[in-house]
Structure formats: structure tokens, C-alpha cells
Symmetry: C2
Subunit: 371 residues, 2 copies
């Protein structure tokens, strides 16, 4: 059915015949290369139009060796960070004539490996990948070794030797923690989302290598530690809460936190999904924010100022991260090879009403009227 309908599509030889020229000439006219006299050019275009000719990108790509397609591999398109970044990527790609094929990995390294395999088969011109947390990463280095341009999004993989664009996580987390400390909090917990507890051991302190060179979660944990240590505050292992990456994981983790004999008075959540879980758990437990506990979350989701109370956040320039990643990739594809570098964009702390001094009630109306 469909086969037969699509079978009769006109090809360059068809157009050439119809226009009374050679295939080479027709191809030149259609492809806009080489040189053709205005007259024949016109004739070919007319023939193409009447025959309903559509160029076959596959054939073209086979010759030219370029597909004008980028592969994007990320954890989960339903996460605000990723869909915003993706918009930055697709906009930039489109403006430069590239398409984007998308794959979700759900943080699963083997899905990631699979994705790379099919993307390589598809002969994409380059890759933007947010590497899955943990797991084997040989597939990444293999891909890089194959010569395919790649840029990392959000996370860094030491030793991979490719460009990377992301937040200055350590600094952002330190700023966020300092903000909480300045409000007078000393019992500050983090909800990290990582699978294993990220316990900043004393020996890790100020190890130069870790600075800006680790993946997101440890880097943020390091920033938290920096600020805590700097303020002379105790690092309590029970405040380092590694849940899964889902909302309900964070909610469960928060409940554990709140049932501690000495519960934290402030919580720093490492992304907006986790923050949602924290808020939900607090609501279920009947804990008021910021009266009972202050909440500060990474990522300025669209709902952040509509929740109650309006949420204080670390805003990431997500769209820019995506578009910068894409620009770097395209430049590398089209231009030449600069040395790979890390691009760390600065976060912005936006204080709304979910952060306050511990044990301090805020006037109802003030919270309500705040924008």
C-alpha cells in the first residue's frame, strides 16, 4: 500500500529526462552546486516541480559523508533541566540547518550504550550526551576514539577529552548552602538523588582534582561541604540523603530526614523533581515551610513561584547550556578542532519565601502577596 504509493517518486534521472539534460546537470541545478546556465537551471526546476521531485537525503549523505543530524542522549525528557536544554539544542541546531534525534537513557548506562550504537549507525554528525550516572563508560571513549565529535551536557567525564558545558555546581551549591547558613541554620540536609550516599570524607576536602571535574552530584555535595566546613559546621552523615531520582524517592528520603531525633531545619534539594518530593513530604507530615523547615532547590522550574511558599532556588541557565553545547558541537563539526574545554556557567541564587531563619514564622499575607 504505502510502498506502492511511494515507489513512483521522481528521482534525478527522471527530472533530467523530463528537462532534457543529463543527470549531472539536473543534480547541479537541484543541489545548487557547480554551474548551470540560468536557462537550464530554470528548466530543471520546472521539471522537478511538475514531477514532485524530493531529494533523497540518504543518497546525498552517503556521498557527502554528512547527515546534518545530531544525536542527543539524555536521561529523561520529562525533567525540566533536560527539556529546557533540549530546546536550546534544537533551536540552535535548526538555525544552522541540523536536525536532532533524541534518546532517553533513564540513567541506564546500557541504554546509553545502545543509543550510541544506533546513532553511530545512523551516521549522525555529532553527539550531545549527558552521561548516565555511574556504570561503565567505555562506550563513550570508544565513540570519541572513532572520531565522532561529542560534547557533554551537564556532567563531566574525566579523561574523555571532549567539550563539556554545565553549571559551576560546586560554587552554586556552596552559595546555596551559605545562604542557608546566613539565615542561621546549622542543621542543613541535602537530598541528592544519587544512588549511593555521597559522603564527603575529610580526605576529599579540597582535593584539587575534584574541583569542577566531577559529575554533578558529587560536585554539589562538595560545594555543600565547602560552605559547611568554612562555617565550622558539623557534617552529619545522616543529613546526606541519597534517594533515587524520582519525586517519590525524594519524598521518602525527606520523611526519613524529618523523623530523625534531630531533624534538619533546612533542606537543599539537588534538582526540581527532588524538590517537589521534599515539598510533598513536608506537606504530608504537616511541617510548614519555611516556619519549620527551609527549602532550597536546584533549578528554577516554571512552578517555583506559584507553590506555597514561593520557592527559593538556584537558577541554572539551562537553555543557554543547551544552546552553547550545540554551538560548540557544530563549530567542531564544521570548523576544526580546538582543544576540548569545560564551560562552567554560573548559577543564580533566587531567594523567594521558602528560606528563612529557623523556627521563624512568616506573616501569612507577606507570603501570599509576594511575587
Amino acid at each position: 500500500m504505502r510502498r506502492s504509493a511511494r515507489e513512483g517518486v521522481a528521482t534525478i534521472p527522471d527530472v533530467a529526462r523530463h528537462a532534457g539534460v543529463s543527470t549531472a546537470t539536473a543534480a547541479r541545478a537541484l543541489g545548487g552546486y557547480g554551474s548551470v546556465s540560468p536557462k537550464t537551471h530554470q528548466r530543471v526546476l520546472v521539471a522537478a516541480a511538475t514531477l514532485g521531485y524530493r531529494p533523497n537525503g540518504l543518497a546525498r549523505s552517503m556521498i557527502t559523508g554528512t547527515t546534518h543530524t545530531l544525536g542527543v542522549v539524555l536521561a529523561d525528557i520529562e525533567n525540566p533541566f533536560f527539556y529546557r536544554a533540549l530546546r536550546g539544542i534544537t533551536d540552535t541546531a535548526r538555525s544552522r540547518g541540523y536536525g536532532v534525534v533524541l534518546t532517553n537513557t533513564d540513567e541506564d548506562a546500557s541504554l546509553e550504550r545502545e543509543a550510541l550504537t544506533t546513532l553511530l549507525e545512523r551516521r549522525v554528525d555529532g553527539l550531545i550526551v549527558c552521561p548516565a550516572e555511574g556504570g561503565d563508560r567505555r562506550h563513550l571513549s570508544d565513540t570519541v576514539d572513532s572520531g565522532l565529535p561529542m560534547v557533554l551536557l551537564d556532567r563531566h567525564v574525566p579523561g574523555l577529552g571532549v567539550d563539556m558545558v554545565g553549571l559551576d555546581n560546586r560554587r552554586a551549591a556552596a552559595d546555596a548552602t551559605r545562604c542557608l547558613i546566613q539565615h542561621g541554620h546549622t542543621r542543613i540536609a541535602i537530598v541528592t538523588g544519587g544512588r549511593e550516599p555521597v559522603l564527603p570524607t575529610p580526605t576529599q576536602r579540597n582535593v584539587p582534582g575534584i574541583q569542577g571535574s566531577s559529575v554533578t552530584t558529587p560536585a554539589r555535595a562538595a560545594g555543600y561541604r565547602d560552605a559547611m566546613v568554612e562555617a565550622g559546621l558539623e557534617l552529619r552523615p545522616e543529613y546526606l540523603s541519597a534517594s533515587g531520582f524520582h519525586r517519590d524517592d525524594a519524598a521518602a528520603a525527606t520523611e526519613v530526614l524529618m523523623n530523625l531525633s534531630e531533624p534538619p531545619t533546612a533542606v537543599l534539594a539537588f534538582d526540581s523533581i527532588l524538590t517537589l518530593g521534599v515539598l510533598l513530604a513536608l506537606r504530608r507530615l504537616g511541617r510548614r515551610c519555611p516556619d519549620d523547615v527551609s527549602v532550597l532547590g536546584f533549578d528554577d522550574a516554571e512552578w517555583a513561584e506559584v507553590v506555597s511558599p514561593p520557592l527559593s532556588v538556584v537558577r541554572q541557565p539551562v537553555y543557554e547550556i543547551g544552546s552553547k553545547a550545540c554551538t560548540l558541537l557544530l563549530d567542531r563539526i564544521e570548523g576544526g578542532g580546538r582543544r576540548p574545554s569545560q564551560h562552567r556557567l554560573k548559577g543564580q541564587l533566587i531567594e523567594r519565601d521558602s528560606t528563612a531563619a529557623p523556627g521563624t514564622a512568616v506573616h501569612e499575607d507577606a507570603a501570599l502577596l509576594a511575587t
Copy 2:
């Protein structure tokens, strides 16, 4: 640089030579078709592995006429409806061995046309498109005529003759409106997002053709009208608020609504982004929800139960809509041609605390503790 690095990649002839077999045999072993003796099969695989052979999907596609790639064309990936649907699409596609290339149109018909053109060039096997509101649509019918399988997402285009999957909008909107009416509201406004006011004229009432056969916004407006008429309530043109599709458009529209001499006591917003705008505007104006005005929104966004008050919504089975669209498409691609049909999934009204009787205050604690 990159060119040279990728140039030396092994091809089937290389592998064949290395394994001491013909290209055909090597291809059969590698491609898993035809028949090869276990021994040679093994030998070819080893040769491929040592040479680092990677199949070239372009060449394969040229022959087989199938790319195992789907084109997805939607308005804006940052909209919850779309990223959830996309997740349904990509999951389904992946499970059946297909990849997805994504394009945003921002409701711009000419971007949509462009997108279809490049997707056709890329020789995708099928298309899932959420047609842009308004504008010329010949490109859609041209595409369908070319024989490329297509299914419409969320919106219907009369006469196009393709499958479509979406919400039963008219019914869902009617249910939502009835809910508001049952609470005692009579002054109910809608924030539609459409560019032009969707004024349900008396002549349109109960026109059979319109039932389930129009695009989203008019269908929802029709459902609203159904419920209003059924309750004998007046349809006021000034309560039909057509903003743009952005949050701030809806906020502006809401302010206009609230500054009316007789402002509505309830607002029905047609998607979650618009709802956000409504809530924001109410907060800015110092109007309390649901005390001063009830709010009911389409789409159960992840933040809906965390805002204050927890939001009553019409939940769409968005993921299912996406995955069903994908399933229909793949079945059509791989199977044969059933007659195209419309699939209207039912919405679910979830009442939380943003809807109440007009002028009724809700106890603070009740709102806070509600899940």
C-alpha cells in the same frame, strides 16, 4: 581532522576480505539475514570485531527503503503536554526499534512546513504531528498524499484522512464546567490560549460535524458552552478570553478578566502553562483562590498538587496518548492500512482545593494538610 579519523572505518568488503569470504556472505552474517554456516558466521563476526566494523545505516536504508526513524513535529517541547507525550512516543518507538527526530514549530505553520520538508528528505518512515493552530495546511495533505504514514497528535484536521489520537476535549471541558456549576458558579470564564476569540455562536450549537472533529481549543470551548447552555447560564463574550499560549499572556488575560465590573468567580484554563499564568495573576492582584475565585486547569502538571491551594485539574492521559499515537503509526508502517480513525481518550477530573463554592473561605489547615 575528524574526516581523516573517520575515513578509515571498515566496510563490509573489508570485513569480507579479512574473513576470507565474499561480501555477500559477510553481509549476511553481519546483517543476520539469509543463511550462513555457524563457522563462517563466527569468522565474520571476529573479523568485524577486530576491524571495528560499524554498519552504515544510510546504505542499508537506501536499499531497504526504511530508516527505522520517525519524525515528530510538535509545538513546543517545554510544554508538559508535549514532553510527556514525547516520552510515550520515544519509549514506544525504542521498544520497537525506531528512533525519533524531533522538531518544534511554536505553532508556526511555515516552520511546520519546513519541518515536513526536511523530514521527507531524511526519509523518515512515518510522522507524528501536532498540527499548528491555524495557517495553511496544504503541506500536511501533500505529505499524506505522498503516501507517508502519519498520525495526528492532540488535534484533528478535518478531511486529512489520517489517524488521530487525543483527548475527548468537548466532553472533558463540559465535565469541568459542570463541576464548577455544581459548586454554584454562574460567572465562569475560560482562558483559551487561542489567538482569536473562540466565540461559540448560537448557530454552532450542536452542529453534529463539530463534535469531536475540531481542533482542541474550539472543542473545549464547545464543551464549556454545552455545560453552560445545559444549565441555562448566560454565555458572556467577555468571559471568553483568548490570550496567547504563553504564561504571561494568560496572566494578562486574567487581569483583564478580574478588572471587569462583574469579574468571573471561576476560571477554566485550557492548559497548564495558561493555568500558571492565571494563578500568578491572581496572586499579583491579591485575589485568593478558591475564596475569591475558583481555578480549574487542563493537564495535571507535576506541580499541581504542590501549589497553593492544590490545583483541581482535568488530567489527560498524555503518556498514553503519545504511546498510542506511536503504536498506531508503527502498525500502519509495518502492517497494512486500516481505515484511519480518531481515538479520543477520556480525561479525568481531579478535584483538589482550587475549586469551591463562590465566596466561600476554606479553612487554612484543611488546605494545607490536603494531599
